[in-house]
Amino acid sequence: MRPTYGTVSRYGVVAFASSLDQVGPVARTVRDCAFLYSVISGKDPCDSTTVDVPPVELPDGIDLKGVRIGVPKEMNETEGIEPGVAAAVQAALAKAEELGAELGECSLPRSVEYGMPCYYLVAPAEASSNLARYDGVRYGLRVEGRDRLEMYEKTRDAGFGDEPKRRIMLGTYALSAGYYEAYYGQAQKVRTLIKREHDEVFERFDLIASPTSPTVAFALGAKTADPIAMYLSDVLTIPSCMAGLPGLNVPCGLSEGLPVGLQLIGPQRSENVLFRVGHALEQSLGFDPVPERLR
């Protein structure tokens, strides 16, 4: 799960994009996830962006009476979503309704359209600044050179992979004099807009649901040559990340033999609701985490 931004301390975590970085539990069951979250969450005097959290309620039972689930059409009907993925998510939502939840359609048009471009300005910009410290002087890798400058250059060249280098360049550019307003500044404004759009949806719904990713896992290295195609795998998780909202991924079925993730997103600090719904579906859907070929 990805908790609400600021509910888990980032102290000790290597920073990539500070305003987006979040530490989240990964566990075999939703209940374990909730339990781990209850331990790691809360205000930390060493991270001034952290906040207090309401007491964590360990989920129990499968009754979803009174829970209102919004289904954003842009995140469930967009082309690019694999038919098998869409089918598994629809089945999971039907199960939720059976357990007493009320389903309703909603819309997050701007969040889905602008979330991704916005992310690819904010994240690289912050990364370009956060990664400046890996210069080979005080810790980590050092590749010697004729002088100080050459040592920095060689160290960074050897230490950073292609993707970090790409993001450092992009981010440095986005923050440069004359481009800040058009890029980073604009992205921050769009972020506020995305937050507001989500807030409006949460006036009518307790949480929203969609696939976690448009496709199931692709083969290792299959999209390395086409970064844009790879970035698109994140199109459904990024809008809520930009808004600092919590998201829980629960496996809900298979598509072409590979697991499909159901994503549940709630308003800030609504982790207890996500755990409750995630647990109920997990118990009712009977998803077997052991791959078919190994059973």
Binding site: R10, A15, S48, A125, S128, S129, A132, R133, S176
Partner: protein, 465 residues
Amino acid sequence: MAEWEAVVGLEVHVHLKTRTKMFCRCALEYGAHENTRTCPVCLAFPGALPVPNAKAIEHTIKLGLALECEIAEHAVFARKNYFYPDLPKGYQISQYEKPLCGRGRFLLPTAGGDEEIGIERAHLEEDAAKTVHAGGETGRTIGAEYSLVDFNRGGTPLLEIVSRPDIRSADQALRYLRLLRQTIVELGISDAEMEKGTMRADVNVSVRERGENGFRPRWELKNMNSFTFIGRGIEAAVRQQVAAYEAGKTLEQSTYDYDPDLDRLTVHRSKEEADDYRYFPEPDLVPVDPPRELVERLRGELPKLPAARIRRIAKELSVAAADELVSTGNDHKAQLLAERGVDWQTAANVAMNEPDFLDANAAAIAAIVKARDTLTREAYDGAFAAARSVSIDAAEYLAQIAVSDTGELDPVIESILAANPQQVETYRGGKEGVLGFFVGQVMKETGGKADPKVVNELLREKLKA
């Protein structure tokens, strides 16, 4: 020929007096062994995060209130990105678009009324570490064999006060700096000592013809750490710029160094090489929204400020004398003596020139100062020597009356004159300065107990003959 005027703006940096650094809990200690006051935060280890120092924020607000600044309701820390060995994160946490203190003003009392220097902003940031260039022949960057970095200073809270370009002369710049320094010291927020590096200034200078609107390109003198050189640097900049314009040249914005040996500015780097700091809001920190109650409490804690005291004392002395008294922090002593019947002129002289004394000794010192013409030098100096640290009894010193009895002094003087016929000739030849020599001899002979005023009179009379 055109009449030129200087246009000067100052950026003053002072280290804030706090127990710990700006964003970590390392102790601030001058003179501690190198790199022993460091931690993962101020060494920029991966995963370390800054936590702002609340005291430093209070100090900044206090200064802002003293300079009549608008105190922000929502201030934001920003990253200033640049890469240098003394900056381990690769960025300095500073404030950019939303500083803690906005527009304000600082008044310099003068004989012709107050001069107003606008304040553009005052913001809080962290200082860089200290680089020491070692080896090589010059001990400077160029030619050094290697550089050492002391991170003890890295992360020290630094307050930057930016003036508007309202200053019109080197003299005014120095008066601004001295009074601002005194204000900072009295607020208790910094020692602001240039010699110790806890205060430094960037000076921006341009010139324009009197009556001209707008500003011409400015020269920036960075990291100036002496009042004398700031004054001379401004004068040199004005001289060189006026000479250039009068020779028909155009100038561009550049950073300069002041060379005290040549009394000239030499170009450090031009604008084309200027850094692009890529400022953006610091995502590791939440904005600072100072509560109104805090601001009002700090306003209530403000002491009576130097400028106000200069205006009051100027009613007794000249503005320049009052300014000097206050800017050196000596007006409190003068005030104590004046309140106890010492005339202001004498009180000011004593405060400026004699050793400090305990407030509790003010009445005794006032009595001794008033009687100083009749006291022995020994008694007078002895009283000040003691009054600095222990409570004194005036009567003990007032009893040591100087010898003013001519019957007692006459024979002493006669024998001294007789023993120094050559100096007597010199005096009578018109060099009256030699009188001091005779006074000294008499004081020596009487063990400092003679009344110098009477000795002077007697000597003049006898030498006339």
